[in-house]
């Protein structure tokens, strides 16, 4: 039972382009939606996060768009750079603090 569905599985973007990764969730009790970035051999690192009472959050080149009624949220990476090449995970948090992760998106930004 997959509570958080993430797409696409992989993504190739040219340098300077916009990378968009989408997630959908089922449990309306989730209270926090983080995005993590993971490089090979490293643990996930928190990138940006949003609470469900906010529709958009921007930090530098990274933006989360949140649609509560559709139970969907997305990560936009503006002006994508080769250094952004990594695996990105969306997640949703239960009130216990437990994170439910999406399956991940491998992003490759071509120079």
């Amino acid at each position: 039972q997959q509570q958080v569905k993430q797409s696409p599985q992989s993504l190739i973007v040219q340098k300077g382009g916009i990378s968009i990764i989408n997630c959908a969730y089922e449990n309306t009790a989730f209270d926090y939606f983080p995005w993590y970035q993971q490089f090979p051999g490293k643990g996930p690192a928190l990138l940006i996060a949003i609470r469900p009472d906010v529709s958009e959050k921007k930090e530098g080149r990274f933006t989360i768009s949140f649609n509560k009624s559709a139970k969907q949220f997305s990560l936009h990476i503006m002006d994508s750079q080769p250094g952004d090449s990594a695996t990105y995970f969306c997640a949703a948090r239960e009130n216990t603090g437990k994170l439910i992760f999406g399956q991940g998106t491998t992003l490759q930004v071509k120079p």
């Binding site: 993430q6 209270d31 926090y32 983080p34 993590y36 051999g41 490293k42 643990g43 996930p44 690192a45 928190l46 996060a49 995970f89 997640a91 948090r93 009130n95 216990t96 603090g97 437990k98 994170l99 439910i100 992760f101 999406g102 399956q103 991940g104």
Partner: protein, 113 residues
């Protein structure tokens, strides 16, 4: 560095052996989580500790898996009678409180031969 520390970074063992994985959380963090990441997959929740409360073990896949935490410090995840399907990266995360962001270690890559 004051991040989450996990050891060993890599572990190769034979099927049927027991393994013990260690996590040192960020000092002062009361919440500690264990996750499993299979190759090319997302992270699966295994267990979490919050202060002196009873741990949430709902994600442990079988009774071969167990975990302990000493107070608000180090935690160990033990897998008994390892199977090949246990091969994965085991990640530990800690947080200041349940509703604060989780910070991950770099994991232990476990390979069962």
């Amino acid at each position: 560095g004051a991040g989450v520390s996990q050891s060993p970074s890599n572990k190769v063992t034979e099927k049927g052996k027991d393994v013990e994985l260690r996590c040192d959380p960020i000092s002062g963090h009361t919440a500690l989580y264990w996750y499993r990441q299979r190759l090319g997959q997302g992270l699966e929740f295994l267990i979490y500790f919050q202060g002196n409360s009873a741990p949430d073990k709902s994600g442990l896949p079988s009774d071969r898996f167990s975990a302990e935490r000493t107070g608000e410090s180090v935690s160990t995840l033990t897998i008994q009678r390892t199977q090949q399907e246990d091969s994965a990266v085991y990640l530990c995360a800690s947080g200041n409180r349940v509703n604060q962001p989780q910070h991950f270690g770099d994991g232990t890559r476990l390979s069962i031969l």
